[in-house]
């Protein structure tokens, strides 16, 4: 069937603020879907309360509602627009739940809106564990023994019947909230109670445990003609027992024979057809018994999911884009394959490479959190590595994580205590993967490792091989290592830095030697078809093969460094800026080259930049791309700390940094020089000191005076930032910081107790400064700016204060010779404005201001950075009406034991925007009244 012409306007529901279990993958899917529908001439109306998204940009949709995701917002939209259909499958569980709520309230029917892309009844079947189980039985799909309980007593009866170990899964919760494994009666009763409370309908499923079985996912697409294709198979490295979102995953499936895979494919098709007839995407999860290849259906999600974002990036097949087209009536065979341009979208991708996804956790932000991984997702982001083999992909993913490791192993950071390793293998946390390596290195028998972890022996053997290789390499020095061994190490993904560690030499010597030996990185295409057809997509990954497919054009080029994995303090806001950086550089006539390794992002969509290198934002990879492409320069201002911290090395290697120079970036970070600059410009700042050990810090504290704000330099999101009130606290915190970041210069600031905080973002071309916005925090100083409610523009700062802020912002921007964006944080006490810090880069608040004022500030800033425009060239026209409130959003519910107190270290995972007309607004009054509630140190 061709397109349904009766659909002329579509409402897309976004996923709201970033929380654990629902991250920026839905910005990627929502943006793709919106573009896909607009291509068809359909009017797209979009609702999302998350301002830091590309999907809520004017370039993406026709009408954008930055409103809370509630029934009343939906009603308002439907009153304003003549909407034909709603597409609720692009905004995760949040969007689906809202669609169901509106359905139950009769809103869709009242306004004559059709639900497309999913069947509401299908959601009920898939989200209600008991209905799902019954449906699977009806379809003759294997499921775990189990049944649902709505009361404590009922739960206990079920447990008695099935026996331990058991799994408890509350119905209708996100990312498996409140679920868990239980092995004993005592554990069970606690978990049952918790599960019943967590489920919004107070229902839990109690099931037989299949912990240790192999775990797989398939991504499906179906059209109205019931044509189904499987986009990707994903195998979990971590077997059943760890949430997929917290598992290391691999695509394509590595250990599945064709017979078992096809059986799984058949079951997936049967399951999708069984839950309802709708045109769209679907994700199905399976467990396979390693002893007899028995397959059990675990769950089915009738929507675009985190895994479909991963599958899109893993295969190159644009799932969300095609799913949107299917929702408006197209059949798969009527749509062109975007990759080849010649074949159709009815096509199952085949991979001639391997991808490995590793989650990124942030347990350090949640003191007291249970760090053990289980059924409930705890990671905040993820990275993907692409390689010609599993080991290469694995090493590249490890290099992408930014956890101060240079890859897997070979960096002197291994555990050597057998007891600790075995504990970690049995109690998986964020570092188990690394400890498996350590276990082999220590000589723990492979059988023991497998028995404890239940990880498939093929995967384990891959790691064992790396350990053997490491031991072999250690026998040589840089001058004696045989070429074959060297080449093998590079083919298996070892970074020059890792080899430097093993060969006891510098990274640069390894680099030089491998180039001398002619062991060169080449770039291959991600093309969905294993090179069977010519592909038109500029999507590359590196490997050590023979043929290089990335042809270098003679156009002038700019490299934009991405922000790597999402984590607290550095999330989607930076990807937002990167995407706009790419678009602006394109407008200026440059060929744009994006380097990033986060599969959840819009920046890694192959049609954003002219060329996408899906590579770790890790020196070696970046430098090789730069040598290959020879760009005019590199933009480091947009990708958060990930990109910024590479500035020094870029400078050292003579590579041009676009915009603000490295000296200025460094000056702003170096507290001493920065304070001198402030002093010269007659700008006040709190008393401060810089210490490299605890003793100096205590000496300094005597002059500065308590309370002190203590923090390491060169970090983002207030990592390890703390307010201390006495010498004892100071000493212990300094020791903590220096243990995690050895050699760091720790900053001690006099903390202005009870001060009001504000921040300003500005664009500067070196001569002129334009302040794009000033935001005033609602909570008093002491809560990290990312965690505080903030209001744009300020709600109760006097003219004099604003004037000071403006004047200081201008003076600092010029003094730092800023070319591009700058963010400055202020503390205001007794009518005096103090500078807390200045960051000459895109900040977390820039996307918020862009949305609130409806202006493309990142675009302007990038044009200024490149030198294409001056600040005076733009006609600034911010839409100022009322106030915009930035509302921080936390994921504390994932960590039941964590204290919800806030302090100088950022803990929120996302943010929402809320517009108010005036300060009499109820919402504002409430948060203002509660401003001191959660402050701690």
């Amino acid at each position: 069937m061709p397109r349904d012409r009766s659909i002329r306007s579509v409402l897309i529901i976004g996923s709201g603020p970033i929380i654990i279990g629902q991250a920026c993958e839905f910005d990627y899917s929502g943006s793709q879907a919106s573009r896909s529908l607009r291509e068809e001439g359909i009017e797209v109306v979009l609702i999302n309360s998350n301002p830091a998204t590309i999907m809520t940009d004017k370039v993406t949709a026709d009408h954008i509602y930055l409103k809370p995701l509630t029934k009343s917002s939906i009603k308002e939209i439907l009153q304003n627009h003549n909407i034909d259909a709603v597409l609720p499958t692009m905004g995760g569980q949040t969007a689906l739940n809202l669609a169901i709520e509106c359905e139950n309230a009769g809103i869709w029917e009242h306004f004559g809106v059709r639900i497309i892309g999913v069947d509401i009844h299908a959601i009920e079947t898939t989200e209600d564990r008991e209905k799902f189980r019954l449906k699977m039985k009806e379809l003759n799909v294997g499921v775990c023994k189990g049944s649902t309980a709505t009361s404590f007593l009922q739960g206990k009866e079920i447990a008695q019947e099935i026996g331990f170990p058991l799994v408890i899964r509350p119905s209708f919760t996100l990312g498996g909230s409140g679920g868990g494994f239980v092995g004993s009666q005592e554990e069970f009763e606690k978990a049952l109670d918790h599960g019943l409370h967590t489920s919004p309908i107070h229902e839990v499923l109690i099931e037989q445990s299949i912990m240790g079985w192999k775990e797989y996912e398939l991504e499906l697409l179906r059209d109205n003609n019931r044509n189904i294709i499987i986009i990707c198979s994903i195998e979990n490295f971590d077997p059943m027992g760890i949430h997929t979102g917290d598992s290391v995953t691999v695509a394509p499936a590595m250990t599945l024979p064709d017979t078992v895979y096809q059986e799984m494919r058949n079951l997936a098709i049967k399951m999708m057809n069984g839950i309802g007839q709708f045109a769209g995407g679907c994700n199905v999860q399976f467990a396979v018994n390693p002893e007899n290849d028995d397959i059990i259906g675990i769950e089915i999600n009738p929507r675009v999911s985190r895994s479909s974002a991963l599958a899109s990036k893993a295969t190159g097949y644009p799932i969300a884009k095609i799913a949107a087209k299917l929702a408006i009536g197209y059949n798969l065979d009527e749509l062109p394959n975007a990759i080849t341009g010649t074949t159709t979208a009815y096509f199952e991708p085949t991979l001639d490479y391997v991808i490995v996804k590793i989650p990124r956790w942030n347990f350090d932000k949640f003191q007291g959190a249970d760090r053990k991984l289980g059924l409930q997702m705890k990671s905040v982001g993820e990275v993907m590595g692409i390689g010609s083999n599993f080991q290469e992909a694995l090493q590249k993913a490890c290099q992408s994580l930014e956890i101060k490791r240079n890859g897997l192993g070979a960096d002197g950071k291994e555990l050597t205590k057998q007891e600790d390793i075995l504990y970690s293998l049995a109690n998986p946390s964020w570092n188990r993967l690394f400890h498996i390596y350590d276990a082999y290195k220590l000589g723990i028998p492979p059988k023991t490792i497998q028995n404890v972890t239940k990880i498939d022996k093929w995967f384990l053997h891959q790691i064992e091989e790396l350990v053997f290789l490491e031991k072999e390499i250690k026998k040589y020095s840089i001058n004696t290592i045989p070429k074959d061994l060297f080449k093998q190490a590079k083919e298996k993904g070892y970074a020059d830095r890792q080899l430097g560690h093993l060969l006891d030499c510098w990274e640069s010597e390894v680099f030089q030697k491998r180039n001398e030996l002619g062991i060169k990185r080449v770039y291959k295409l991600v093309d969905t078809c294993a090179a069977e057809f010519e592909a038109k997509t500029p999507y590359y990954y590196s490997t050590f093969g023979e043929e290089n497919e990335s042809e270098v054009s003679d156009k002038k080029k700019i490299v934009i460094l991405g922000s790597g994995p999402n984590r607290i303090g550095q999330g989607i806001e930076f990807d937002y800026s990167c995407v706009h950086g790419v678009l602006a550089a394109k407008e200026c006539g440059y060929e744009t080259i994006m380097i990033n390794c986060n599969p959840e992002t819009v920046s890694t969509d192959f049609d954003v930049a002219d060329k996408l290198y899906f590579e770790p934002v890790f020196w070696e990879h970046i430098y090789d791309i730069i040598l290959h492409e020879n760009p005019v320069g590199v933009i480091v201002q947009l990708g958060g700390q990930t990109a910024l911290k590479l500035a020094e090395k870029l400078e050292r290697y003579g590579i041009k940094i676009i915009g603000t120079s490295y000296e200025a970036l460094d000056l702003a970070e170096d507290r001493g020089s920065f304070s001198t600059l402030l002093k010269e410009n007659d700008i006040p700042y709190p008393e401060f000191g810089v210490a490299e050990d605890a003793e100096t810090a205590i000496e300094l504290s005597k002059d500065i005076g308590f309370p002190l704000l203590v923090r390491p330099s060169y970090v983002l999101g207030g990592q390890s930032m703390k307010i201390v009130i006495n010498e004892k606290e100071l000493e212990s915190h300094i020791i903590d910081i220096l243990r995690t970041i050895p050699g760091n210069k720790v900053l001690l600031d006099h903390f202005l107790d009870g001060a009001i905080e504000a921040e300003a973002d500005a664009i500067c071309d070196g001569e002129n400064v334009y302040i794009i916005g000033i935001m005033q925090h609602i909570e008093p100083a002491g809560i990290h700016s990312g965690d505080s409610y903030a209001v744009l523009p300020p709600y109760n700062l006097g003219d004099l204060i604003i004037k000071q802020i403006e004047s200081y912002t201008e003076r600092i921007a010029l003094a730092l010779k800023t070319v591009g964006l700058i963010n400055i944080q202020f503390a205001i006490k007794d009518d005096k404005v103090y500078i807390i810090e200045a960051n000459p880069r895109a900040s977390r608040t820039v996307p918020f201001i862009c949305k609130a004022y409806d202006e493309p500030y990142v675009n302007y800033a990038v044009k200024v950075m490149i030198g294409e425009k001056k600040v005076t060239d733009f006609n600034f026209n911010p839409k100022k009406h009322g106030y915009a409130i930035k509302e921080p959003v936390f994921s504390f519910n994932k960590f039941p034991k964590v204290n919800k107190e806030l302090g100088p270290e950022m803990k929120s995972t996302g943010e929402a925007i809320y517009f108010i007309d005036d300060l009499m607004d109820d919402y504002f009054m409430k948060i203002y009244a509660e401003r001191n509630l959660y402050l701690s140190r």
Binding site: N225, R226, N227, I229, I230, S233, P252, A253, M254, T255, L256, P257, D258, T259, Y261, Q262, R265, N266, P290, E291, N292, D293, L332, D333, T342, T343, T344, Y346, F347, E348, P349, T350, L351, D352, Y353, V354, S388, N389, F390, D456, K457, W458, H461, E464, E465, F468, E472, K524, C529, A530, A531, E532, F533, E534, G545, E546, E547, E549
Partner: protein, 366 residues
């Protein structure tokens, strides 16, 4: 096992491209026509498919050998390919029911292979230059390989079915089954026979050069013309057999080479494709139902689209969505149909198994 010394091997293409890698399988020299299969699963089924006789297969999947081999998953009595080329060759295997490693299996089956090769580069080369002959060796010099390569015959004009088919007829299934099917073995895959047997048929498999009369004497209700290797243009003996089946108005179903033979029996010519279709993700559209199916394919020759267009006897039923080649036909006024692809899959998706049901229905209705 882990740090075993790896012997070198080399691969030489007819157009002079020389690639170095590591010797896998048996040490020695072997050659044939090079082709690539893009499937991500099912290496054992591919290697044992008789249609690959005389060919050297490149697996584009990055890892091969991960789950070992298992006798039940062979498509014939042993490996049929003339050699294999892979990227990463697994030194261990992981599957509870696996009987041995791929390495042991290949050595036992005397198959020469090469690993640690930039397979993607080779595929791109073949994609642009087309199918050609190749030689792999772990022992010869490049010069010697060049000489050996010259001795390998071109696939065009080569009859191979009689080399891989059964010598003597044999039976499969329940003797007193309702339906009896005669299979003309041009290199039949076991899973085809299994699909027929699973549908309650009693099957007698005949050698490729068996005549219609001999088969008819067994009194089957339907005929199946199997897949197999080689050039359909030189399969006159099978074409004659099919002509006789059609003349007798007997139900007939053909797969792959069998499909090409049926087409030829109806006056449709075949030609050699640039580099063929080999993989598990080939998109086919059934023109009669409008539905699509993902299919397993393995063919280097195809029937002429032009001839089908101009034919009064043959109608296209399926087309290949990637390049619009004809993937299925039926014969007007006869109970005869055939497909270019592999509905039995093995390896590959099971989307097209309805064709076996269709064949059974056809027999029952005739």
């Amino acid at each position: 096992m882990l740090q075993q010394k790896k012997d070198k091997a080399r691969l030489l293409l007819e157009d002079g491209l020389l690639v170095e890698g590591v010797s896998i399988g048996k040490k020695g020299t072997s050659g044939g026509e090079i082709c690539f299969n893009t499937g991500m699963t099912g290496y054992q089924e591919i290697y044992t498919d008789p249609s690959y006789f005389g060919q050297v297969v490149i697996n584009t999947a990055s890892h091969i050998g991960n789950y070992g081999v298992i006798n039940d998953e062979q498509e014939s009595d042993g490996v049929k390919i003339s050699g294999l080329v892979v990227n990463e060759y697994s030194s261990i295997f992981s599957r509870y029911s696996a009987e041995e490693s791929l390495q042991d299996y290949l050595e036992k089956n005397n198959v020469v292979g090469i690993s640690d090769v930039d397979t993607r580069k080779l595929v791109r080369h073949i994609r642009s230059k087309g199918a050609m002959n190749v030689i792999i060796s772990s022992e010869l010099s490049a010069e010697e390989m060049k000489e050996e390569l010259k001795k390998i015959p071109s696939m065009v004009g080569l009859e191979l079915a009689s080399k891989v088919c059964t010598d003597e007829p044999y039976f499969i299934g329940e003797e007193n089954a309702e339906i009896k099917i005669a299979v003309l073995d041009l290199g039949v895959k076991r899973s085809i026979i299994k699909n027929l047997a699973d549908r309650g048929c009693y099957i007698k498999v005949f050698p490729s050069q068996t005549t219609f009369d001999v088969m008819e004497a067994w009194n089957p209700q339907g005929y199946f013309i199997s897949n197999g290797p080689g050039d359909p243009a030189v399969m006159d003996y099978a074409v004659d057999t099919v002509k006789n089946i059609l003349d007798a108005d007997k139900p007939v179903f053909g797969i792959c080479l069998g499909h090409q033979v049926i087409a030829r029996a109806c006056g449709i010519s075949t030609y050699k494709m640039h580099h063929g279709h080999r993989g598990l993700n080939h998109p086919i559209k059934n023109i009669e139902t409008g539905l699509c199916e993902v299919t397993s394919q393995n063919h280097g020759f195809v029937i002429s689209e032009k001839d089908v267009e101009n034919s009064a006897v043959v109608n296209a039923t399926h087309i290949h969505l990637n390049d619009n080649t004809i993937a299925g036909i039926k014969v007007a006024g006869k109970s005869a149909f055939s497909v270019q692809y592999h509905p039995e899959a093995s390896p590959g998706p099971h989307d097209s198994r309805y064709l076996f049901d269709q064949f059974i229905t056809l027999i029952k209705n005739t």
